[in-house]
Subunit: 208 residues, 2 copies
DNA sequence: TCGGTAACTAAGCGCTTGCTTAGTTTCCCT
DNA sequence: AGGGAAACTAAGCAAGCGCTTAGTTACCGA
């Protein structure tokens, strides 16, 4: 009996909540590693030790490293989409919808910046089939934003030259948060969200 | 005599101009591969065959794969910085400077989208020393844009809440081009540049 | 109490990786 | 002509990779 049962057989540094389920810990460790180093620079041993497992332990729950990326990417896209939809549903006018969508989507990118980074920058490492699946979700996000703009233009609140171009610029501002954000930055998610909502109103000609 | 000299000993598909110098071809092949698959998913064999060399041929000109990334990243940052400076120098007013900077920097991201992708998304795979060197160039870009905004606010042309936040949003719109652009898109660099310049004027409250 | 199933590990397999070594060819300078 | 440096290749090495296999432990229902 070389080890008492209170000491788990972990060698690397944990990057996940020890109280979470094993699948949850694997997803957390993968999000941490993929966001930090990218999919290909992350080894399955990194993920395993981050979750407190041996290298083989990953394969009890996921068939491959790519399957882990897909699970993370799909659930990330789905929760982002859910957030966007609910923000838009909460607003009574296009103006309120745009403000809520920009603020809350930005906050998500800050609070979940590791998942957001995987969602925005790692999806092209998926297999063609998996990639096609998340691409459909990404197009849906784009449509949601463009529809808000179109409704605002229709009722005279917004004035934009091209709603597709403007929607892309709005999403660029939000998505790029996942690139530049670091937890060392002192601004809160709410502050960054409010800033981006204000910038959005300026972009659609409804700044005052 | 197994092969006539007119057939080069290439196995993979070339991704570089055969008339360019060897170093040039290596940089082109590396830019192509890094932009397409990322630094870690690219093998030195990919780069070698893309440049029409054997795997060992890379090491005649570069000491390591990371050194290749650094050469590409540094020269890319330098040419981007040169472009920004010259665009700003050409404008007589802050308004003209902002329009020129946004349009030309955007065009560069489209025309050189492979290099731009490496510049914007691969620099964190550099060694700490090399990373620090390009970070200084990146901060300089940010300052250049913020200074244009500050001058425009000072002379009353622009109206922004916070010049740092607004500069970041402007750069987000430009940088993000390297993420979403694909050569299959039918819009020209000039059109995309003009769109982003117009969006920039709206963001700084000088849209008309 | 015990059989079955699911979660897990130790060990390691086959392959690919970045890079090196030893040797060949090319070309320029005298 | 011929010596030397530079550019290049064939072959391959050590390390690390994703993933598998064989076996152990823990737990749960009958």
């Amino acid at each position: 009996m070389p080890q008492p049962t209170t000491t788990p057989p972990t060698s690397g540094a944990r990057t996940s909540d020890p109280d979470a389920s094993t699948v949850e810990r694997l997803l957390q460790a993968a999000a941490h590693a993929f966001a930090d180093k990218g999919f290909h620079a992350t080894t399955t041993r990194d993920i395993a030790s981050g979750a407190g497992l041996s290298p083989a332990g990953v394969y009890v729950h996921f068939g491959s490293k790519e399957e882990l990326l897909f699970a993370l990417s799909r659930s990330g896209h789905e929760s982002a989409l859910r957030l966007l939809r609910s923000a838009i549903a909460d607003g009574a006018t296009p103006r309120q919808q745009l403000v809520a969508a920009m603020a809350r989507f930005t906050e998500w990118h800050v609070e979940q910046y590791q998942v957001a980074r995987v969602v925005q920058y790692e999806h092209h490492h998926l297999t063609p089939e998996h990639h096609a699946e998340v691409l459909a979700l990404r197009k849906e996000m784009d449509s949601l934003v463009r529809d808000v703009l179109d409704r605002g233009v229709a009722d005279g609140t917004f004035s934009v030259d091209d709603s597709a171009d403007t929607a892309l610029a709005l999403l660029s501002i939000v998505v790029d948060v996942a690139r530049w954000y670091s937890p060392t930055i002192r601004r809160t998610p709410t502050e960054i969200g409010a800033t981006n909502a204000t910038l959005a109103l300026r972009l659609v000609g409804a700044g005052h």
